[in-house]
Symmetry: C2
Subunit: 375 residues, 2 copies
């Protein structure tokens, strides 16, 4: 049995319980079902949330459940949504999500993209009128299961400052890219085009730690090291590459803008500051952009896979910057974390557990998640 590895380790451990992922997924699905989300969609949304926890993307896991249930109760998320293909061709489609759960819409969109790529080699399915869909990588991995490469983008509410501008004016706008490999883990790059997610600033604030200069700035343009001040004053996270142009901040801001072009402008969804949070009464109108690439249209799959393995070996064999550092292939940390957490359970903070219990109470369903003993 391989050794245990977790991308993020619960700290302090006594504040966390280890929860069996299957029982957690069932509970989350039941909560959605109790809110009249169709069973099929409830299962997908639950799977996306719990997959994020399994993969160590804790910020996008079940701690976000209340965001989605809150959106449903508020009416901003439409549980009766009827997705509709607005436009399509051999290798493209535009879907209107009818303000339904982003997870369900995005999952369907990638299914359609895969179908179209099977026919024509490559496809793009773009989505408008959707909601926050959780971890982008989830949908990119759908393509991998069909031996395709997947590219997934979404825009999101504005939290990032565009280069030379003040305030929150662009989304963190993640890009995920996946590739099949001969042996797991698949390649999975999944990153917001900001230096850090706002969630990381929140964590530092809770832990009373200073943030490094270059993560965020205050509304007046000053770099901030006090995470509490950033949050209180609605400071902006900086784009990948940081402030200004010296360290390439315009590149990160430009990438974020491109994601907004593809997800927002190309689809007719919102963009920039118009993209709303799930818990806002104005329509979120989030846009997504999904690409599926059938590897075999380019090279025989076995040759491709054998080269991917060589590429991974190449990276792993590079001289390391220090003895205690480790070279990672994108997606590897997440995969190892998933394998570990499937065995020993997902660490859920006691406050989050309480939130989940409350959700169960509101939904009038039993809080039947299974606690494990952990490592």
């Amino acid at each position: 049995m391989s050794r245990l590895y977790e991308k993020t380790v619960p700290d302090p451990p006594e504040d966390y319980a280890r929860i069996d992922h299957e029982s957690l997924k069932n509970f989350v699905a039941d909560v959605f079902i109790s809110l009249e989300v169709p069973r099929e969609f409830a299962l997908i949304a639950a799977d996306v949330l719990v997959m994020a926890d399994l993969m160590g993307v804790d910020s996008h896991g079940v701690q976000r459940l209340t965001r989605y249930t809150g959106g449903i109760r508020l009416g901003s998320v439409n549980t009766k949504a009827k997705m509709r293909v607005v436009n399509q061709s051999t290798s493209t489609a535009l879907i209107d999500g009818d303000a339904g759960l982003g997870q369900a819409t995005a999952h369907k969109a990638m299914e359609l993209a895969i179908e179209k790529a099977e026919e024509s080699g490559v496809s793009i399915v773009a989505v408008r009128n959707s909601h926050h869909f959780g971890m982008a990588g989830y949908y990119a991995l759908q393509a991998v299961r069909k031996n395709m490469m997947g590219i997934v983008m979404t825009n999101s509410e504005a939290l990032v400052a565009y280069t030379h501008a003040l305030g929150r004016n662009l989304g963190t706008n993640p890009i995920a890219v996946s590739s099949p490999t001969m042996t797991p883990p698949p390649i999975l790059f999944d990153a917001a085009m900001a230096v850090v997610p706002i969630g990381k600033v929140e964590v530092y604030s809770k832990e009373c730690k200073k943030i490094p200069l270059g993560w965020a700035m205050l509304p007046d343009g000053k770099l901030a090291d006090d995470p509490g001040e950033v949050l209180a004053k609605k400071g902006a996270v900086l784009p990948l590459g940081g402030l200004g142009e010296e360290m390439g901040g315009h590149k990160g801001a430009g990438l974020s803008l491109i994601v907004d072009l593809l997800c927002g402008v190309l689809t007719g969804a919102n963009w920039g500051r118009k993209v709303k949070h799930t818990l806002n009464t104005e329509p979120a109108n989030v846009g997504h952009f999904m690409v599926a690439i059938d590897v075999e249209r380019f090279r025989p799959l076995d040759q491709f896979l054998s080269n991917i393995e060589k590429f991974k070996e190449y990276l792993k064999s590079l001289p390391k910057i220090s003895e205690d550092s480790q070279i990672w292939v994108p997606g590897e940390k997440a995969w190892l974390t998933m394998e570990t957490r499937k065995r020993i359970g997902i660490p859920i903070h006691k406050n989050i557990l309480k939130e989940l219990e409350d959700e169960g109470r509101k939904a009038k369903i039993e809080f039947k998640v299974k606690k494990l003993n952990g490592p």
Copy 2:
């Protein structure tokens, strides 16, 4: 008449001559023709080089001519190349460039991508066995002329250090994305996935200036501020986001790796340290990746274009970080520089002029570039 603007201003001006771009392009084409490059390809290669100079991407302009002519003389660039479509489907193709000039091959590849996207909505044309193709944005702009969005990537010789690894092991691997707009300039994002191009380190070295800590590191992993030392010791440029993971360096390195996957592994081209410089006797086997997206398959073009204008206005109207700062849309600086340099000429350093004159002498063609008076 609009005011003059240049992204990079010649400094000191007396070291530069202003050269008429048409005469420069004709001269460069003649040099290629004298080396038995077919006329059609010579014109494209010359156009790519001079376009880079026009757009202020001086590092990729005619100062690189000797790299390509050198490659031809060395035999690494094949002037008799017969490009061939290895594989194709409705919306995909893989081209083998037969080690011909990267510019000619990439141009043809994007033409094919556009043709396929006209038919099926979106297309990918990938290329192997090519060479360094100059400015990626050039090919992305081909798509814009057909009211399409273009995405262009290429891998390149290793100059960047992968996160937690020592040495030059990944290319700078640029990504260019373009979009049509109602009025010029078109959107053109074009950026290497490194903090800076190695050319910038070279410029700082020539100017005896220190480089900011975070641009490059020495072979032992120490951050460098002496550009001369970086070059002499073959230090590595850092990925976008910098050293380690604190500022998102793993995101920049991951993006660079994805470009290598799409350009190198998917096509059967080289990747990582195997990608060679044009002036190397081993096959460069550079790979490219081109996407063309027909906007009208998603939304009526006029709606799209009108939204793009609103998006540009939105960015331009954001509060600025300081009074003397300016907010730029990707591609805008390059476009204004092009308009300016078409009027007042391209500034060419006297040493580069001498190099060009030498090329003319070797090629036995007259050095008939036209000097202008400048601003």
